[in-house]
Structure formats: structure tokens, C-alpha cells
């Protein structure tokens, strides 16, 4: 047990030092990189390692007779989490989410330090000491708090109430509910039931399983599957349509959506928000193919009322492309990202 805790303590100490050095810039901030595609799991794994490390450190310090007070353990761990969320994760997390995470971590820390009477007593002892103010130091602290706390509350209140010229916070509806049907080039498409006419098997029948088997591999690299190269001159059927969709994409869409479909095209950063990142699992992977068809056809101007604040400059592509071309582009987007369109069966 002791050996295990020693390893954890070493890990914790090394982790804290490394994080601190990366935060202040002594060590390059990309020394331990968060790898795109693995970041969500990596973040939780890192936090788990830190918790193990802190537990080991606490254990070792207690074993050496230098027990770290529970009060400071709680406060410092919370501070650590806030710093981690603010500086470790890139791109920066918006304040609203950090506030949610920070509040929950604070509640979690309270639950930890008050889980049993002994711990709770240890934790609140310094607070009680200041409230009781039996020594000169605690007396001074109490007076200090008496002055500082109202000032802080007043400051926060003032800051909250003072008129600001900042842009207001926006609650953008990323995927507004689509209409039941949409009319493109004079034909009405029911979004619940329409299908991409180019998602077909060699027999020419609609076959999502077949097309799913021929999309690129997900994960790093997004490699094409053997014998599923749309740019092979002999490619027929589904793969041929993917190629045609790709040609249309690179003639029309990639300037904004990027040649990797990650929303970082040549003109992307002229817009705020930048165009949709199709490689993110929260975009086309969550949606029916007909939803994309509708969005591409109608563009930003065709967003419904609930698409507030309508922050999209995508043109209504029905004015520039035929229905077939739109379906082929959609086909290509799913093929290239390695995602499957959502279905409900």
C-alpha cells in the first residue's frame, strides 16, 4: 500500500509541477499535448491521475507526520481544478461552462470534506477558529474578513449591475428543428422519410449498410478503406457519386468548410462563428441526411424562427446547385468524415 501511495505521490508531485511549469511558460505549453480526437477521454484520464497523485501526496505527508490540513486540501484542490479548466484545456472553455464545472466541483469538494464527522470537524476547524477569534492572529483575520467580505460582495454587485458595452451573451440554437417538409426546385421533400437517391448499392437500391461499409475509417488519419477509393477511375455507383459530390464540394464549399471538412477553410475566420466542423461528432453525425439536405438547400437565410440568432451566412445552395448536386455533396460529407447519417429505425 505504502509503495503504491509513494508512486501516486510522485506522480502527483510531477503532474502538479509540470502543469504549473506549462501554465507559466517555463516548459512549452504543448509538452503534454491534448490530442484531437482523444481529448475528452484524455482530460478525464488526466484528472483521474491527478486525484490519485494528490491522494498519494496526502498519504505520504501524513505518514511523515506533516499532515496537510483538510481545509487547505479542499481549497487548493478546487483552485487546482479551476486553473486546470482555465489553462490546460485548449481552445478555451467559455465562462458559462467553467462556472458550471466550478460550482459542481465545489459541491463535490464539500461532499468530500463533510462525508463524515471527523473530516468535517477538521475542515471547519480553521473557520471556527476565525469565528471564535481566541488569538491575536484569528482576531485580526476576523476583522479583516468583516471588512473584506462586504467589500467583495459590494464589488461583485456593482460589477454585475453596472451597464456594459460588451456584446450580449448568445444562446445559439445549433440544430434548430427542421420543418416537416421542404420544397426545393419545385419538389416537396418530407424530411422524416426522404432518402438520398445516391446512397445505393451496386444493384442501384438504397442501401445504407453498403455505403457505411465504404466510408473512410474514423479516428486519426481518416484513411480510405481498401477498394473504396472514389477517385479510382473505375469506381461506379455509390463511390462514383461520392467523387462527384467531392468535386462539387471542392468547387463550392471547401472555401469555408475547409478541405478537411473541419470548418477551417480559407475564408472561415472571416466569420463568427466559423463554419460548421463536420468532423465534430456533434454536427452531421447527429443528424438525418435530410436535415443536411434542407440546411444546404435553404442556407442561413432559411433558418427557422428558433434558429436564433441566425448566425449563419451560408448561401441558399438551391439557387446555385441542382437537387442531385446537393444530395451528392451530402453523400460526400458523410463519406469523408466517416460518419453515418442518423436513422430512426
Amino acid at each position: 500500500m505504502k509503495a503504491l501511495m509513494s508512486v501516486a505521490a510522485l506522480m502527483g508531485a510531477a503532474g502538479i509541477l509540470l502543469l504549473a511549469a506549462m501554465t507559466v511558460g517555463i516548459v512549452p505549453s504543448n509538452t503534454v499535448r491534448l490530442i484531437e480526437g482523444y481529448m475528452p477521454v484524455q482530460v478525464i484520464a488526466e484528472l483521474t491521475l491527478f486525484v490519485a497523485g494528490f491522494t498519494g501526496l496526502s498519504y505520504m505527508m501524513s505518514a511523515m507526520g506533516m499532515a496537510f490540513p483538510r481545509f487547505w486540501q479542499g481549497i487548493l484542490f478546487w483552485a487546482f481544478l479551476l486553473i486546470y479548466l482555465k489553462f490546460r484545456i485548449y481552445p478555451p472553455i467559455p465562462f458559462s461552462v467553467r462556472a458550471m464545472y466550478g460550482t459542481i466541483s465545489l459541491v463535490a469538494i464539500f461532499m468530500w470534506v463533510s462525508a463524515n464527522e471527523e473530516d468535517w470537524k477538521k475542515f471547519k476547524q480553521p473557520i471556527m477558529n476565525v469565528l471564535d477569534a481566541k488569538t491575536g492572529g484569528t482576531k485580526a483575520l476576523r476583522i479583516g474578513y468583516l471588512v473584506i467580505i462586504p467589500l467583495l460582495i459590494g464589488g461583485f454587485s456593482y460589477n454585475a449591475m453596472v451597464p456594459k458595452s460588451e456584446e450580449p451573451i448568445e444562446l445559439r440554437t445549433v440544430h434548430p428543428a427542421p420543418p416537416a417538409s421542404t420544397k426545393v426546385h419545385g419538389k416537396t421533400y418530407t424530411l422524416q422519410t426522404s432518402q438520398n437517391p445516391y446512397r445505393v448499392n451496386p444493384e442501384g437500391k438504397y442501401d445504407q449498410e453498403y455505403s457505411n461499409a465504404n466510408i473512410v475509417e474514423q479516428g486519426m488519419g481518416r484513411l480510405m478503406k481498401p477498394n473504396a477509393n472514389p477517385w479510382d477511375k473505375d469506381a461506379q455507383g455509390y463511390l462514383k457519386y461520392v467523387r462527384e459530390g467531392g468535386e462539387i464540394f471542392y468547387q463550392n464549399c471547401h472555401f469555408c468548410h475547409g478541405d478537411n471538412l473541419n470548418g477551417r477553410g480559407l475564408h472561415a475566420f472571416a466569420f463568427n462563428p466559423i463554419p460548421a466542423n463536420f468532423t465534430d461528432p456533434g454536427t452531421i453525425a447527429q443528424l438525418q441526411e435530410t436535415f443536411i439536405f434542407w440546411r444546404v438547400s435553404k442556407g442561413g437565410i432559411g433558418l427557422p424562427n428558433e434558429g436564433f440568432p441566425w448566425a449563419s451566412v451560408m448561401p441558399p445552395w438551391e439557387q446555385h446547385l441542382t437537387v442531385d448536386e446537393i444530395w451528392k455533396v451530402v453523400l460526400f460529407e458523410y463519406w469523408h468524415t466517416g460518419y453515418y447519417p442518423r436513422t430512426w429505425d
Binding site: I44, S96, E170, P178, P273, G282, Q288, P341, T343, W344
Partner: protein, 595 residues
């Protein structure tokens, strides 16, 4: 040549079942904003209706849930061999029904207020709805009479039917009472089911003569299941809060012991129904998506998505409060210290599950933050914000809650069965595998088609429920004849635990208000979805802030009024015999679910 009578028969096509039927009703009225269809006070009618409806629902849920508790607790009293314990259970059940009785009158009064509000402010809509449901309106009223009659006999006959065969008759009456109550709720649910997913009418809203189609709409069954579970969890929360309040106000150890025990029983019953509740909610949402994709997207990804984040936050609070209470409850057991040192790891696991569960897909941010983030999708948060991760998050939370329960149930005991070592290892491995499976499936969900991903929730839920259904009995078997390290010292629990119970109840109440609002507002500008349009000036969706304030007001009003009900109940409270109230040395009460 057709006869005159035949020529008048007009057929219509059911909007949902697609069957043909003879039109026997008038079309849904096309309302116009004015005193005829929308008479009003100088106030937003929708808000008045919201208030009346919500209060009626709170009380309705409470009075439907409490008799189920009474049935369970009375049954436990009847089958318990320990006489003193039997008396305590019986007294507890009686205390519950007494509270329920006062609340029952208030429910009926609030129901009346609700109907008057409908008639006064939405006469056209109410006229249409009551026309559609005419065949069952009086059945509903008669069932209410039956419910009242059974309840009064059940309550006033308590002492008369105290012993022997009569006690079983009395217990059977609680079953009848609950059957009637549940059917009443199903009927009421059919109205909201019809408003969301109408059936049994044609496109113009004309009734086609089949009342079963009108009742049995696409969302009726999932709504029924969700509401039964929700009512039970809510009822447990309210009773637990009542016990917590009485505990905190108690002046003697004896009273503290009694209310500590009462709070524990109510919490355990409530949580027993809370655990399957997210799965029932998941089924409901799945059916909503299957019924109308737009409705599903409006709820989960569009206009109302942020309300779902608030809902996730409330669900998290419920589970956190439950776990915290259980950890505090370990403190009243001698010998449970060995588990307390590991609580920090449970906190961490719970916290990770919770953070993933509440991560929004639609993030609130300033345009500057949006720019700094480099697009709407964050590479970390974007992954936590979708269903695959959230399923993992909630299942981790529930599995951890089950683990906390297992720890609590073995807190002061040491297994003496010959296979205890093997049993402990098996349980440890089982839980570890469950966590690995849930997390692995949550990650795997990103690499498969969405329709398969939705199906992944089945093995995840199965994993969680396996922990519940296999580990609880296994633990009970291991703890049979176990060595007691010390008694459960009822009343020796921290006051923090009682605040956790109050938090639990408040979160339940708030969440009920929130979910009711979400369910109702997903119809957007329809009184009856796609059949009868809301043409009042209030056919828009409230802002999140307004809705939150309104829900908070409803919660506050409910709690103030229920405190009054509790006070009324306490005026005539039958004093429990002293020996029945006192803690039983060495004989800890057994919670439902087999402690």
C-alpha cells in the same frame, strides 16, 4: 339511389392510426384573439393556467404516490414478525395517509380552480377538448368518487380493521385505492397525450368515434410509465423532507430517532423509483422522436435544449443528494468507518459522470468567446455534449448510487458466510466490469451509426440494472446472519443529512415543474399539435429566465402550502405509543429493497 340518412354519413381518416372512421365530432375551432375565444383578465392567461395546473399536478402526484407508500409500508407492518416493528410501520403508514387526506381535499379544490380557469380563459379550447373526451369525462368523475370513498373508508377504518383478517381486508383496500388512483392518472394523461400527439381525429380535428384511439396516443404509454415513477419519487421526496423538517425541529432523542427512520424509509422508497426514472424518460424521448422528429429536435437539440441541461443538473442534484445522505447515514452505524475512507473516490466518479452529463451541446457564450473557441464545436465539450457521452455519464452516476446503497446495507456488518471472500471479490469485479462496460460503450458510440448508437443505451442500462438486481440480492445473501459490528443508532445522524433530504425534495419539485413546462411548451404554437392552433397573444415560447422564475414561484408556493398541510395534519396526529417510537436496540428497521 342513396337514402337520405346515408348521404349524411361522412368519413374521415385518423391522423395517427390512419384508419377510417365516421365523423361524429365538430372540427377543432379556428380561434381568433378576442373575448369570445380568449377572454382574459388584465394578465397573461397562460401564466394563470400554468400556475393552476402546476399546483394541481403537485398535489395530484402527492396524493397518488402516498397511498402507494402506505400500501407498501402497511404490508411491511403486516408481514413483519417483530411486533414492535410492525406497530411502527403501521403507525408510519397511518401518519402518511393522514397527511395525504388533507392534501387530497386541496387537490380537489385545485382541480376545481383549474377547470374554472380553463372555462374562463380558454373556453374554445376547453370546449373542444371536453367534446373529444366526452365518452370518458363522467367515468373520470365517477372514478374520483370511487377514489374518495375508498380513501375515506381506508382512513377511517384503520382502527376498526386493525387485526386479523380485517387487517388484510384493509390492506386490500389500499390496493383498490391505488388501482383507482392509477387509472385516474392514466385518464388525465390521455388528455396531455392527445394534445401532444393527437389520434382518433381527422386532420380537421373531428372525432371519429373511437375513444380508445383518442386515449391510446403515441405518447400515452411512455407518459404513464414516466408519471408513475415520477410521482413515486416525488412523493418519497416530499415525505422525506417532512421527516427531515420534523427531525430538525425535534427536541427529544426519541423523536429524532423516529423521524430519522421515517426519512430513511421515505428516501429509500423515493430513490427506488428514481433509479429507473431516467430510463423511462429516455423511452419517452425516443417515442417523441419516433412520433415527430421536429418535436424531438426542438426538445433535445433546438429551442428547449438548454432546459434539458437544467434538467440534467437537477437529476445530478437528486443523485448527489441521495449519495450524500447515504454517506452521512453510514455515520450512525458503528463499524461503517471502513467504508467512509473510500467515499472521496465515489465523489470523484460521481462528479466526473455529472460533469459529462450536464455539458451543454449548445453553449452559452459571448461572440468573443465563440471566436476564441474557434467555432461552435469545442473538441472536448463537443464530445461530452452528445447523447453517447451523456448515457455513459448518467449510468455511471446510477451505478455509483447503487454502490453507495450496497455499502450502506453492509455498513455495520461483517459477512460470516463461508464464501464471503469470494463474494466480495465477485462484487468488486462485477462493479468494475460494469463501469468499464458503461464507459467503453459511451466511447464506442462515436464510431457507429446513430440508430445503433441509440440501441447502445440498452446494454448500458442493462449493465446498470444488473448491478441493481444482482448485487443487491447477492449482498443480502452475504449479509444473512452477518456479524453486527454495532447497532444503527437512529437519530444519531448529522443534520447535514437532513438538509440533503430537503434538497432532494426541492430538486424533485423543481424538476417536475421544469419537465412539465418542457413537455407543454414543445407544442409551440399549438393547443393540440397540428390540429388546433393557439391564436392567443401568448403563443410564443417563454425565455429560459422567465420559465425558471415561474417554476421557482410554483415550487415556493407548493412548499409553503404543503407546510400548511403538514401543520394541519400534525394538529390531529395520533400520538404513537412510546414503545413504538423508541429505537429498537439491535433491531434496525429494514428498508424496502431488503436491507
Amino acid at each position: 339511389m342513396k337514402k337520405e340518412g346515408e348521404a349524411k354519413v361522412e368519413k374521415g381518416r385518423d391522423v395517427y392510426y390512419k384508419t377510417e372512421g365516421i365523423v361524429v365530432g365538430a372540427p377543432a375551432p379556428k380561434t381568433v384573439d378576442g373575448p369570445r375565444d380568449y377572454p382574459r383578465y388584465n394578465f397573461e392567461s397562460r401564466v394563470l393556467l400554468w400556475f393552476a395546473n402546476q399546483q394541481h399536478l403537485y398535489y395530484g402526484s402527492f396524493v397518488l404516490a402516498v397511498p402507494i407508500f402506505c400500501m407498501v409500508i402497511e404490508f411491511m407492518g403486516v408481514v413483519t414478525k417483530d411486533k414492535a416493528m410492525a406497530k411502527r410501520y403501521d403507525q408510519l403508514a397511518y401518519d402518511f395517509i393522514k397527511i395525504s387526506l388533507t392534501a387530497y381535499s386541496l387537490t380537489a379544490i385545485l382541480g376545481g380552480i383549474l377547470i374554472f380557469t380553463f372555462l374562463t380563459l380558454y373556453p374554445a379550447f376547453f370546449g373542444y377538448l371536453s367534446g373529444i373526451f366526452r365518452p370518458v369525462m363522467h367515468i373520470y368523475a365517477l372514478m374520483f368518487v370511487a377514489e374518495s370513498g375508498t380513501l375515506y373508508i381506508y382512513y377511517y377504518g384503520w382502527d376498526k380493521m386493525r387485526d386479523g383478517f380485517l387487517k388484510w381486508i384493509h390492506l386490500s383496500m389500499s390496493v383498490i385505492l391505488n388501482v383507482i388512483g392509477t387509472l385516474l392518472m392514466f385518464l388525465a394523461n390521455s388528455w396531455i397525450g392527445f394534445m401532444m400527439s393527437p389520434a382518433g381525429v381527422d386532420e380537421q380535428g373531428r372525432y371519429l368515434g373511437n375513444i380508445w384511439h383518442v386515449i391510446h396516443t403515441a405518447l400515452w404509454n411512455p407518459l404513464n410509465v414516466h408519471r408513475i415513477l415520477g410521482n413515486m419519487a416525488f412523493g418519497g421526496g416530499v415525505v422525506a423532507a417532512y421527516a427531515a423538517y420534523k427531525f430538525l425541529a425535534s427536541k427529544t432523542d426519541e423523536d429524532r430517532a423516529h423521524y430519522d427512520w421515517m426519512g430513511y424509509i421515505a428516501m429509500a422508497l423515493g430513490v427506488a423509483f428514481l433509479i429507473p426514472l431516467p430510463f423511462a424518460g429516455y423511452w419517452l424521448m425516443r417515442e417523441v422522436y419516433a412520433y415527430r422528429q421536429q418535436m424531438g429536435i426542438t426538445l433535445m437539440g433546438g429551442l428547449l435544449a438548454w432546459l434539458f441541461i437544467i434538467q440534467a443538473t437537477m437529476i445530478g442534484i437528486l443523485f448527489l443528494s441521495t449519495n450524500y445522505y447515504l454517506w452521512q447515514a453510514l455515520g450512525r452505524m458503528r463499524g461503517a468507518e471502513k467504508y467512509q475512507r473510500y467515499i472521496k473516490y465515489l465523489v470523484f466518479v460521481l462528479c466526473c459522470g455529472y460533469l459529462v452529463f450536464i455539458t451543454p451541446h449548445t453553449i452559452v457564450m459571448t461572440p468573443a468567446e465563440l471566436k476564441a473557441m474557434g467555432g461552435q464545436q469545442h473538441p472536448v465539450l463537443g464530445n461530452y455534449g452528445v447523447m453517447s457521452a451523456k448515457n455513459g455519464g448518467i449510468n455511471v452516476i446510477i451505478t455509483t448510487t447503487i454502490l453507495s446503497f450496497v455499502w450502506y446495507m453492509r455498513g455495520n456488518k461483517v459477512s460470516t458466510v463461508s464464501w464471503s471472500k469470494f463474494g466480495n471479490i465477485f462484487m468488486g469485479v462485477f462493479f468494475a466490469c460494469a463501469y468499464v462496460n458503461i464507459i467503453w460503450l459511451a466511447i464506442y458510440g462515436y464510431y457507429i451509426p446513430a440508430n445503433v448508437r441509440v440501441g447502445l443505451s440498452v446494454p448500458q442500462v442493462a449493465t446498470t440494472l444488473s448491478c441493481l438486481f444482482f448485487m443487491f440480492p447477492l449482498n443480502a445473501a452475504m449479509m444473512k446472519g452477518a456479524k453486527q459490528m454495532g447497532a444503527i443508532e437512529w437519530g444519531k445522524i448529522s443534520v447535514r443529512s437532513q438538509y440533503a433530504l430537503i434538497m432532494l425534495a426541492t430538486a424533485f419539485t423543481w424538476m417536475m415543474g421544469l419537465m412539465g413546462y418542457i413537455r407543454s411548451s414543445v407544442r409551440l404554437f399549438w393547443h393540440v399539435n397540428e390540429i388546433m392552433r393557439d391564436n392567443s397573444p401568448w403563443a410564443y415560447t417563454h425565455t429560459v429566465g422567465f420559465a425558471a422564475n415561474m417554476i421557482s414561484f410554483n415550487v415556493l408556493f407548493f412548499w409553503v402550502s404543503i407546510l400548511f398541510v403538514f401543520w394541519l395534519g400534525s394538529l390531529g396526529m395520533k400520538k404513537a405509543p412510546v414503545e413504538a417510537k423508541a429505537g429498537v436496540p439491535g433491531g434496525a428497521p429494514q428498508p424496502a429493497g431488503g436491507h
